[in-house]
């Protein structure tokens, strides 16, 4: 629009129209996007029962399944409990705990992670990667352990 004289009223009307259309159709577009994205990103997780504190030996690792079918490795050390995802940050293979060596091992490219999940050898170490931590909660009353995993069912 390159009208010669744009008085204020015209300009305001055009601006209001532009903003109004943008906001309204934009909101509709956002709602449409949310409709098309089946998984809610950043949704609160599901708490899963992961045994009792008394069942964990210090230095031991127990595995639990999350809702996507992946193992969660829960380790107890002197300070307490920590939970790690078993998905290798390198290319997604599954790591496991090797008790004899006291480290986590990924068989695909021989990645090695120390007791705290930090990569110390192999391609993950080259990339300065670590096993991602899974939120964990211990109920003081009963010594019950919960791991918080992603919910996959709902949209």
């Amino acid at each position: 629009m390159n009208d010669a004289s744009m008085d204020r009223r015209t300009w305001l009307a055009s601006a209001a129209m532009g903003i109004g259309l943008l906001l309204s159709y934009g909101t509709l577009a956002v709602q449409g996007m949310m409709y098309l994205l089946p998984q809610q990103i950043g949704r609160r997780g599901r708490k899963l029962f992961a045994g009792r504190l008394v069942d964990y030996k210090v230095g031991g690792v127990r595995t639990f399944l999350d809702l996507e079918g992946n193992d969660i490795l829960v380790k107890r050390d002197e300070e307490g409990l920590k939970a790690y995802s078993s998905v290798c940050p390198h290319l997604g293979c599954r790591v496991h705990w090797v008790d004899a060596e006291k480290h986590f091992f990924c068989p695909c490219h021989r990645g090695v992670f120390d007791e705290t999940g930090i990569a110390i050898s192999g391609p993950p170490a080259d990339g300065g990667q670590r096993l991602s931590e899974v939120p964990l909660d211990v109920d003081k009353d009963g010594g019950v352990v919960y791991i918080e995993v992603k919910d996959i069912k709902r949209s």
Partner: protein, 358 residues
């Protein structure tokens, strides 16, 4: 005539246009063509309305197709999931349903407007035929779309409709077999209806609509003058952009607002799932087929089918029939108006009557 955009643009746009060496100036010229003044009257938006709603249907329809499963075992459940689980699924489905209803209503109102302004007359007969075909396609959209939900009424409505098709003389059994994909409404039927609804009909409508609009542009829009109105001697025009475009945007937003309100107050529901073994007490088609249903109840299967077919045939080719009647019997245009009113009232009475019946 206001200046369109300058044909000699900065190098950038030229380079872009060179990628597709079409005569862009021609397009610019066509798009900048001024709009006749009588189109300022609001009657004339009744054509653009169903087109806009068609676009809404395509977009919401594509969205629904992301989650809909066209098999008898899964269809109902997938609609259930859309309505109850998917975020804003209920909303998009409700818009789709209401837009369908509004589209049918607005096509029909547009038909009435065109008829009662005599805009179907020579040389616009062909466009009337195309328009009527578009009406038929819109009704077919409604019918096939509703059957996809696979509720009781979907299933049994489809059964009744295909049985009606069966009653068409000579070719009836072929038509019904073609529609059902077999002797009974079942898996094949649903697949066919799905393909009709998302493939065949949209393509058909797209091309018919293109032809329809092209013809309108080529013929120009019939002027509408009321008795006693002061008609300017010269033709006056107004700009497509921004005046007419703004009108179109206005109608678009109004329709979106209306659809949203309707979706909030009367969201799309879900009846009982289809059960081929149990026919519900009261089967009814969608409201836009009430007139035909009532006719069926008043006469017999064969009679109502033949009658409906005949009326549709006459209506579709009315411009030709009317001019023949004019030539042969000197029928006045006034009579055409009365015939139109009579037909419309007949349709209205049958529809309302059926709506009160069980």
């Amino acid at each position: 005539m206001p200046e369109g955009v300058a044909s000699e643009k900065k190098g950038f746009f030229n380079r872009i246009e060179a990628l597709f060496p079409f005569d862009w100036d021609l397009l610019r010229h066509a798009g900048a063509e001024p709009v006749p003044y009588h189109l300022k009257k609001w009657w004339f938006c009744l054509g653009g309305t169903p087109m806009y709603l068609f676009v809404v249907q395509v977009i919401t329809g594509i969205a629904l197709t992301f989650y809909y499963v066209p098999s008898p075992a899964e269809a109902y459940h997938s609609v259930f999931v859309i309505t109850h689980d998917i975020r804003f699924g209920w909303f998009l489905r409700s818009i789709h349903k209401w837009s369908a209803n509004l589209m049918i209503i607005s096509v029909f109102l547009h038909l009435l407007r065109v008829y009662f302004t005599g805009a179907y007359r020579h040389p616009r007969e062909l466009n009337w035929v195309f328009g009527f075909a578009l009406l038929g396609a819109t009704l077919a959209f409604g019918f096939t779309g509703y059957s996809l939900v696979y509720e009781q009424l979907s299933f049994w409505g489809a059964t009744v409709a295909t049985n009606l098709a069966d009653a068409v003389p000579f070719v009836g059994s072929y038509i019904s077999y073609f529609m059902r994909g077999g002797p009974e409404v079942g898996e094949q039927t649903l697949t066919r209806f799905f393909i009709f609804h998302i493939g065949v009909l949209p393509t058909l409508v797209f091309f018919l609509l293109a032809l329809h609009i092209v013809l309108v542009r080529l013929h120009g829009v019939t002027e509408l003058h009321f008795e006693g109105e002061v008609v300017e001697k010269e033709h006056r025009f107004f700009r497509f952009w921004p005046e007419h475009a703004t009108t179109e945007i206005l109608i678009g937003v109004l329709l979106m607002y209306l659809l949203t309100i309707l979706s909030l107050i009367w969201p799309a529901q879900l009846g009982a799932p289809a059960n081929p073994n149990v026919t519900p007490e009261h089967i009814k088609p969608e409201w836009y087929f009430y007139f035909s249903f009532r006719l069926l109840k008043l006469t017999s299967l064969k009679v109502s089918v033949v009658l409906t077919g005949a009326i549709m045939g006459i209506a579709m080719f009315w411009p030709f029939i009317e001019s023949w009647l004019k030539r042969k019997f000197g029928m006045s245009e006034r009579l055409s108006i009365f015939i139109g009113i009579f037909a419309f009232l007949g349709f209205l009475v049958l529809t309302v009557w059926e709506s009160f019946a069980h």
